[in-house]
């Protein structure tokens, strides 16, 4: 006898959802037979607002595309603008940018630890990682003046130089975090229940992943090595030694393994940056922003964020404001196309875990 289907509304305000969006699921027993994502709760018309501002003013909006990791959006926009104008960026600024991007990556992964472990009821790891993330936010505060929103990477370089003794603090924080990762491993990755809850769940088909444009850890969790930092190096990534971890399987466990190893690679990159960073200017000053007109044309810059490849397209008609700005975020594919497909056939208990494993960020969808 066929069970009666029940409709459940997971979100828009729900402990199992990563932000303001909703997943409407139809379940028979505990099995999901249909999933529909609903977004629109956060729409603020970022792209349209950017058109109303001059080339510099948009940075207060850009960082709000994705709260956990705002820096890649700033960086891709800044680099697109620089490409459009042909503006050179000092070498020191490039190194600082990479350091900031990697620190943001680690901080964002710390939040992911909390989300992924929390979605499975393991709150201790989440409390630890969110607490440890604060040490990185302390560094951001000292460097940029802001803990979450930085508005630090901008056209021509970075907004200010590193304060005295900052390198030592960064290295000390990296040493601390590297030790803490062992604790996370013991409690989370070595935990048999965590393995049972994540292995074989939310499997992404490799062919579909490519067809749909899946990026980042969900793609690398299918065993496909794709990372903009290696495939199309920007800033100074081509001068740094690091590997891009991949894992076969395509399930939550594989995606978690990719992220687990990527944090260690980011720590490795930060140490190299501190070791290799040259002296000199940190900023190639732009003209008065109110009168700063960019040549006619368009440019696209892409950056590897924790969610995967993100990209910024800007178009200029020769004026002081962008004619058009368009952001390509990983979350659109992951949280809508992919999630709706992945959830069908899965257990009701796994919705939150699957969603967290994809790295969804609703504000990035509604831009």
């Amino acid at each position: 006898m066929r069970e009666k289907a029940t409709t459940l509304y997971i979100g828009p305000q729900h402990p199992g959802i990563t932000g303001n969006m909703m997943v409407r699921v139809k379940v028979e027993g505990d099995t999901i037979v249909k999933a529909t994502t609903e977004v629109g709760y956060l729409h603020r018309a970022f792209e349209k607002l950017i058109e109303q501002r001059n080339w510099l003013q948009s940075f207060t909006l850009l960082c709000r595309f994705c709260v956990p990791e705002p820096d890649p959006v700033e960086e891709s926009y800044a680099r697109a603008v620089e490409e459009l104008e042909g503006r050179e960026v000092p070498e020191r600024a490039k190194y600082i940018r990479v350091m900031v991007l990697e620190l943001a990556r680690i901080a964002s992964y710390m939040l992911w630890y909390g989300g992924q472990a929390g979605s499975l009821g393991l709150y201790t790891v989440g409390q630890w990682s969110v607490g440890d993330r604060n040490y990185i936010l302390d560094l951001f505060e000292e460097l940029t003046g802001g803990r979450v929103y930085h508005m630090y990477i901008w056209p021509g370089g970075v907004r200010r130089d590193m304060p005295e003794g900052f390198e030592e603090k960064v290295l000390k924080t990296m040493d601390y975090l590297e030790k803490r990762l062992d604790d996370y491993d013991d409690l989370m990755f070595e935990n048999s229940i965590f393995k049972k809850r994540t292995k074989g769940i939310g499997i992404i088909d490799k062919a579909k992943a490519i067809e749909w444009g899946v990026v980042g850890p969900p793609l690398r969790g299918c065993g496909i090595k794709h990372d903009v930092r290696i495939d199309d190096p920007y800033e100074v990534y081509d001068k740094l030694d690091f590997v891009v971890p991949t894992h076969e399987g395509g399930d939550i466990w594989s995606r978690a393994q990719v992220r687990r190893q990527e944090i260690r690679q980011s720590i490795r990159i930060v140490r190299q940056v501190i070791d290799k960073i040259p002296g000199g200017d940190f900023y190639n000053k732009i003209p008065n922003p109110q009168k700063w007109a960019l040549p006619k044309g368009d440019a696209y810059a892409r950056t590897e964020a924790v969610r995967g490849e993100v990209g910024m397209y800007v178009s200029s008609d020769g004026g002081t404001h962008p004619r058009r700005a368009h952001f390509r975020g990983a979350a659109y594919v992951h949280a809508i196309t992919l999630l709706e497909d992945l959830l069908v056939g899965e257990n009701l208990a796994d919705i939150s875990a699957i969603m967290n494993s994809l790295g969804t960020c609703p504000p990035e969808i509604e831009r």
Partner: protein, 303 residues
């Protein structure tokens, strides 16, 4: 008449003791969990404040008689269990409605509350409540097996269905049943993890999955009754374990030490564990815990 008053007064005092100790344990749970998680955490008496706050809230949502009775069923279960379970060895003040067969009676009465809650949650019409209740009953079918096996093993081994008789066996032999019937103890302790519904068995009200499950439509005074009943039931369950496996207690201090030591098991396991899915939880209880229960019965029957 004087005797009735004496026992009534004893029953009231035992309820107050059970409530206070139970709610303090839950408060300590929050504090210890916070310290493990690198947080300061709320004070140990926070749950007292929460209970008072919940009681003072006005309740304006009702879903019918059964919904109203759900929390009451839980409270009745907790209080009746408390009255049947001996609190101290040979003490006359605390009520003891002990009789031959009280272990079997407890097996039944301890599932009465969740069943009543199921009826109440079902009437709310909230799918989260209904799914939570289904999960709770499924899990109960899991941990009841090793729990019943452990008790049956003790009944066979010591040829009694009375808790007081089991306590007397321990007092006379000077040996706790956790040592003389280790398999029964293991099975019972593992079943206890399910009874407390802490991680990895917190599937009933899993926030990320079902909001708060059966409690979704309850607020204010309903939560007050459930929280109070939960405190009393926590104390009752722990005291039962102490009585049948750890020789009971001669005074309240020893009882608190023993019950809190037992309480640490589900608490610490919960702090370091993710949550099972429903079928994984049931399968777990039907695995090693049931195996130990079977060994306990074999030990009781053969030796």
């Amino acid at each position: 008449m004087k005797e009735i008053l004496y026992y009534t007064w004893g029953a009231i005092v035992s309820f107050v003791v059970a409530f206070s100790v139970g709610i303090t344990y839950m408060g300590l749970n929050r504090k210890i969990t916070a310290r493990v998680q690198n947080r300061y955490g709320p004070p140990w008496y926070q749950n007292f404040i929460d209970v008072i706050k919940l009681y003072s809230k006005k309740t304006s949502i009702h879903h019918g008689v059964m919904h109203h009775m759900g929390p009451a069923f839980i409270m009745v279960t907790a209080v009746v269990s408390l009255l049947v379970i001996p609190i101290l060895n040979g003490n006359k003040f605390f009520p003891n409605l002990n009789f031959q067969g009280d272990l079997i009676f407890l097996l039944y009465i301890m599932v009465f509350g969740p069943l009543g809650m199921a009826l109440g949650a079902g009437q709310t019409g909230n799918p989260n409540s209904a799914i939570g209740v289904t999960r709770g009953l499924s899990q109960m079918a899991g941990f009841e097996i090793p729990w019943v096996m452990a008790l049956v093993a003790l009944m066979i081994q010591y040829k009694t269905t009375s808790i007081v008789d089991l306590m007397n066996v321990q007092v006379e032999s000077g040996r706790w049943l956790m040592f003389s019937s280790p398999f029964a103890f293991l099975a019972a302790v593992m079943a206890m993890l399910g009874m407390f519904r802490y991680a990895p068995f917190d599937i009933v009200g899993a926030p990320q999955e079902l909001a708060s499950g059966p409690m979704s439509e309850n607020g204010g005074k309903y939560l007050f009754v459930m929280m109070s009943a939960g405190s009393v039931f926590t104390f009752a369950k722990l005291t039962l374990y102490v009585d049948i496996f750890m020789g009971g207690a001669d005074n309240l201090i020893i009882l608190v030490v023993k019950t809190f030591t037992l309480y640490l098991i589900p608490m610490l396991y919960g702090i370091t564990s993710p949550r099972y899915r429903t079928e994984q939880s049931v399968r777990w209880f039907w695995g090693w815990p049931s195996f130990f229960g079977l060994l306990a019965i074999l030990q009781a029957a053969l030796f």
